[in-house]
């Protein structure tokens, strides 16, 4: 489990770098357009891929560290058992959702992959390059949600003060 959580943390760092690189590419794009009147054909699309992959790769780490935005108003007032129960339920809901999204997201990826569908934009990349991010991100999210359900059963989940 610790190996998995270090893995998720590494993915989160990759996401941070991807977002930063997106900034670099777009700065270059503006410069290329204004200084050399030669807009790039890749900056917009590659930076978009950075956003898609970055978000999907970091999402499971945010779940693990309690960084997704949630409403504390009621759960904060509950006793330890109530908290565990709510946490177990909410993480089961996340797990179920991510499982279904993984499944159908995988379908979409596979369909495009088989057909060899491309985006038809300036760079004309295969569409599966972006679509693959969804099943991968949500499969990891599903695994992490299961781990969180286990934590709820053992009562070892993060307290409000330990988040962030």
């Amino acid at each position: 489990m610790t190996a998995f959580s270090s893995f998720l943390r590494a993915l989160a760092w990759i996401a941070a770098l991807l977002f930063f690189c997106a900034g670099g590419m777009l700065t270059y794009e503006v410069a290329a357009r204004y200084l050399f009147i030669a807009p790039t054909i890749w900056a917009a699309e590659l930076s978009q891929l950075c956003l898609i992959w970055g978000t999907m790769l970091a999402m499971p780490w945010l779940l693990q560290s309690g960084r997704h935005i949630a409403v504390d108003a009621i759960t904060e007032r509950l006793g330890p058992l109530g908290k565990r129960l709510c946490y177990g339920l909410s993480m089961s809901a996340v797990g179920l959702f991510s499982l279904i999204v993984t499944w159908f997201g995988g379908d979409i990826f596979w369909d495009s992959f088989e057909r060899g569908r491309t985006t038809g934009s300036m760079l004309d990349l295969p569409t599966w390059v972006a679509e693959l991010a969804i099943p991968i991100g949500f499969a990891l999210l599903f695994a992490q949600a299961l781990i969180e359900v286990l934590k709820a059963m053992r009562g070892t989940m993060l307290e409000a003060g330990e988040r962030s």
Partner: protein, 307 residues
């Protein structure tokens, strides 16, 4: 109703494409005695234009309207309609888009492979150029200028003519022209009217450098599951809708040009020599098209040039 046809549309219901869908809805619901219900989800409530091919192809929704060029990822040959100045008169457009014609037929067939069946084509008009102070008569006027485009093929054309293509979405057009993000605009003339682009640009050059077509598609598995009787009703309504919008299109464009002139715009129509100059610089674009699309593209291009 036993059967519901949900249609996704990017534009609002008040647009001429939306009105055309309403006509289809009326026809279908009337002729099927209410057995088939048509629900229109306009203004991209469900899907944006670019998501429609995947959404309909996968069966996430029964029907959708997408601009033809959205299929370029699956069927590169569809960009025949964006080949510069290939369909520069209404006669040529009408011949090319006639159901089963040598240009349209193979495209409809190829789109079939994406899981969608083409029901009908919706005319949207020709692409024109917008500028400030002087018209864009020849490629010379485009040299070194930033030009708004809405697709790769149009971008290739602008590059071939010496301009710098810049992708700008429909909603950012107004401010992009007002503030000079690009020097030259490109759009369908009905867009000039609906977005009041005359506030920010003062000259239209009627280049008709591309023909903008939308297609209404239905998921193929869903379509095959319909009874023959229902299929016939839908097909008849589709044909009525197709003819109606095609016939209206020239009036819609004429109205748009009139409105533009009334709002202070100058409308310039390039001479035959100027068009020849454009066609000359466009040669590499045609070549790139053939290279990318292979035999299918060659066949369609030959057919198009014969029109």
């Amino acid at each position: 109703a036993d059967t519901t046809l949900r249609i996704s549309l990017q534009l609002p219901l008040t647009s001429h494409l939306g009105q055309n869908l309403l006509l289809f809805k009326e026809e279908v619901e009337k002729n099927s005695n209410g057995d088939i219900a048509v629900e229109i989800y306009d203004s991209a409530q469900l899907y944006k234009d670019k998501e429609v091919p995947a959404a309909v192809g996968s069966g996430a929704i029964e029907m959708g309207v997408a601009s033809l060029t959205r299929y370029v990822g699956d069927v590169p040959a569809v960009d025949i309609f964006y080949q510069p100045f290939l369909f520069d008169t209404e006669e040529k457009v009408r011949a090319a888009v006639a159901p089963g014609s040598a240009v349209r037929g193979p495209l409809d067939e190829a789109i079939q492979d994406t899981g969608s069946t083409v029901l009908w084509w919706q005319a949207y008009g020709g692409a024109i150029m917008l500028s400030k102070e002087a018209p864009i008569k020849t490629p010379e006027d485009m040299k070194g200028k930033k030009v708004r485009v809405f697709g790769k093929t149009l971008g290739d054309f602008v590059k071939a003519a010496g301009g710098a293509p810049t992708l700008i979405s429909g909603s950012e057009q107004y401010l992009a022209y007002q503030r000079g993000t690009v020097d030259i605009g490109m759009t369908g003339v009905s867009g000039v009217k609906s977005r009041k682009l005359w506030d920010v640009m003062d000259t239209i050059t009627v280049t008709n450098n591309a023909d903008i077509e939308f297609i209404v598609v239905v998921n193929t598995d869903f379509w095959n599951g319909l009874s023959e009787e229902h299929k016939a009703i839908v097909q008849a309504a589709a044909l009525t809708a197709e003819n109606d919008v095609r016939d209206r299109m020239s009036q819609i464009e004429a109205d748009a040009y009139k409105a533009a002139e009334e709002n202070g715009m100058t409308v310039y129509r390039p001479t035959a020599e100027e068009i020849t100059a454009w066609k000359t610089v466009s040669e590499p674009v045609y070549e790139a098209y053939i290279e990318k699309t292979g035999d299918l593209g060659q066949k369609i291009m030959d057919a198009a040039k014969k029109l």
